[in-house]
Amino acid sequence: MPCPQFAQKQRGALDTESGKLDNQPQYPSGEQPTLCRPRRPFLSSETRGMSQQPRRRRLEVEDSGDVAVVQFVDKKILDEQNIQMIGDDLFRLVDELGRRKILLNFGNVEFLSSAALGKLITMNRKVQAVRGKLVLCNISREIREVFEITKLDKLFTILPDEQAALQSF
């Protein structure tokens, strides 16, 4: 497996209860993450304690340097409640985790509705309010067209792939 060009990514689910990544990397003082270290096994919030009310994971968040790289778990971003929870989890990245550089990777997304666009617009506002940067990438041709029809391609920074998107920060 080729070594990634970018800083080691640490994948983790966004813990929707605590607002923290559930496997936030902890390194001894001065130690830097090693490139090409295998990604840590994914641990979702559902598996972290039987006493917690199970809540389905909707986002996967990785760190690439100081950029939070977000992947959507669902192929279809449709359902109102689902969109609300995705929005809440995205907003928590900014409001509670203090992230300023956020990359949304749509590689897994095959369909989204206009309600999802609304959440992305609100997310963009939040990131701008803290002088951060939000970039979208890996958007399918069909979904890219949705952004173009609505002229939201002028509002968002949309780049073809994750590599180009990471370099834009």
């Binding site: 449709l78 359902d79 509705s113 206009s114 309600a115 617009i121 029809i149």
Partner: protein
């Protein structure tokens, strides 16, 4: 094989809308190209959500009724809600610079873009739309 025509009568419930959407999607995919099926799916999704949320105001008891039919060259769908109705001309243009950052109001724009024709009846309570196969849209 999916029946190429059907009707539905559901409460104002988004899960019910998902089931209608899945049925229609299966029908459309039997005859339409992938990008055309995406277009129909988008339009039906937005129309169903509009009917439930904006028409019936999410009141579960209010019904959303509709019919659909796949013909040799086209797909027709009609969706009716029990809300107060609306004037489509009153919906602000979401692509206008002053509206671009509004988080809602894009459903109708997408429906009109993706379908070959869209019209309203009964004071906006009914949306009637069709999509031609291998059309320009």
């Amino acid at each position: 094989m999916s029946d190429p025509a059907g009707e539905f009568d559901i409460p104002s419930d988004l899960d019910e809308a998902r089931r209608v959407q899945a049925t229609i999607e299966a029908v459309v995919k039997t005859a339409f190209e992938e990008h055309e099926a995406f277009a129909v799916k988008m339009a039906v999704e937005e129309a169903l959500v509009n009917a439930i949320k904006h028409g019936n105001q999410m009141e579960y008891e209010k019904r959303v009724r509709g019919t659909y039919a796949l013909g040799a060259e086209r797909f027709d769908v009609r969706i009716t809600d029990e809300g107060p109705g609306f004037n489509p001309d009153d919906v602000p243009d979401p692509t206008a610079p002053e509206n671009l950052e509004r988080p809602c109001g894009r459903g109708l724009l997408l429906i009109r873009y993706y379908m070959t024709s869209v019209s309203f009846q009964d004071n906006g309570r009914t949306i009637v739309m069709h999509k031609l196969r291998n059309g320009s849209k």
